[in-house]
Structure formats: structure tokens, C-alpha cells
């Protein structure tokens, strides 16, 4: 029982971690684009 709660935790944890990585990735792309501008 309570399988739903367990799944919710796994989804939440990986969701947030991957989102954070996505945010950092966006910052990286932004920083790169700035460097390429003359």
C-alpha cells in the first residue's frame, strides 16, 4: 500500500533535479551566446 506516495516522491525528486539541470543548461547557453557576439 501507499505505492502512489512512493511514486510521487520519485517523480518529484527527479522532476526537480532535472529541472534544475535544465535551468543551469539554459544559463550556459545564454552565457555562450554572449561570448559569440562580437
Amino acid at each position: 500500500m501507499f505505492k502512489g506516495y512512493f511514486i510521487a516522491v520519485i517523480v518529484a525528486v527527479w522532476g526537480v533535479l532535472l529541472s534544475y539541470l535544465g535551468i543551469v543548461r539554459t544559463k550556459e547557453n545564454k552565457a555562450r551566446r554572449k561570448r559569440e557576439k562580437p
Binding site: 500500500m1 501507499f2 505505492k3 506516495y5 512512493f6 510521487a8 516522491v9 520519485i10 518529484a12 525528486v13 526537480v16 533535479l17 534544475y20 539541470l21 543551469v24 543548461r25 544559463k27 550556459e28 552565457a31 555562450r32 554572449k34 561570448r35
Partner: protein, 224 residues
Amino acid sequence: MDYFNHKGNVALALVTLALVLTGLWLIIFVAPLIPEQEWAQRIFYYHVPLAWNAFLGYMGVLAFSIAYLVTRKPKWDIYALSAAETGTVFCLLILITGPIWAKPIWGEAWTWEPRLTTTLILFLVYVGYFMIREFGGPYERSSRYAAVLGILAAVDIPLIYFAVDFWAPQVQSHPQRDMSAHSSTVLKIFLFSLFTFTLILINMYKYRVHVATLELKNLEETHV
């Protein structure tokens, strides 16, 4: 991503991924199913390692902040920022997974239980840390202010912990405190998960440092 140009980073990421998948397999198929709590108890394998590693991150913020104030070398500020961000992400996760765990076990998602309350206070403190970085003005100043706040925050942690712990003794402790009563399989899987999350923290931290270094370079070049 040229973060992965460096072979060490690739290796670290792959090892971590392997551990994550192994960990999930262990938690789902090997971990004993505790009577009455069952799948909810397994949340413990994720929730507690998050707490340990958030704490690790914040100790990093303390060390790097002091180093920055003493040496004024930007790399220390980058390390502090990265440790603060990754630590706070973990902190947020503790606040999300804690109530999800508490609901089935205690019937209520939030009961001002000491550990979660301490984590909430900590989270707010570090939100302030990011606010001062954002609104603190030019980099030379905002980084200094953030370092001071990083030190204040870390120094406050034990005081917050003890105050909150004894603040409401009538509130039942989070389910995690009974874990010691269970088998050694639980302990082994827990330690495995703890190690895995430490590696996750390190991976995130390193990637953030890589990107922050790039951002700082841009900043320095526009000021020349």
C-alpha cells in the same frame, strides 16, 4: 555541453547514473517491505540522503564563503554560489518529500515536526542568500554580502536545530527516527542511497561551477 569535454566529468556522470538505477532497483525489489508502512517507508531511502547532502552543501557554503572573504579570489565565490544552489535544491526536495512521507504515516502532511521546521527555516535563509546576490548591486559587493550571509546562515544552523528540536516536544518525530530498529538490509541500502545522492550533489555542483565560471568570465570581460 562542453562540460562533458572533460573525460572525468563524463565518467563521474556515468557512474552516478549507474548508481541511481541500481539504487532504484534495490529500493523497489530488494528492500524489505515494512509492515503497516510498506511503500511509504521506502521514501526514507530518498528523503534522508537529501537531508544529509543539503547539510553537506551548506557546510561547503560556509567554507567557501570564508575563503572568499579572506582571499577575495572569485573562484571561491563561484564555489560558494554553486554549493548554495545545489544545497537549496536538495533543501526544497526535503520539504517536498517530507510531507509526502508524513501524510500516509501520520495522517497529516505538515505538523511542525522539528526536522522539517528546521529545514523550512533554512530554506528561507538561503532564499535570502539568493536575494542578496540578486539585489546586492555590483558583483564586487553582492558577492561579499552573500559570503557574509553564507557564514551567518551556517553558524545559525546548529542554533536553529537545537531551538526547534526543543520547541515543540509534544509533536511526534518524523517517521525516520524509528529506522534504526530495522534490519541491516535497510541500513545497507540506505548507505548506498546516501552515497549515490552525494555523487548527484557533486555532479550538479561541478556542472554549476563550470557554468558560473563562464558567466563570471563574461562579466569580467564586459567590465574591462
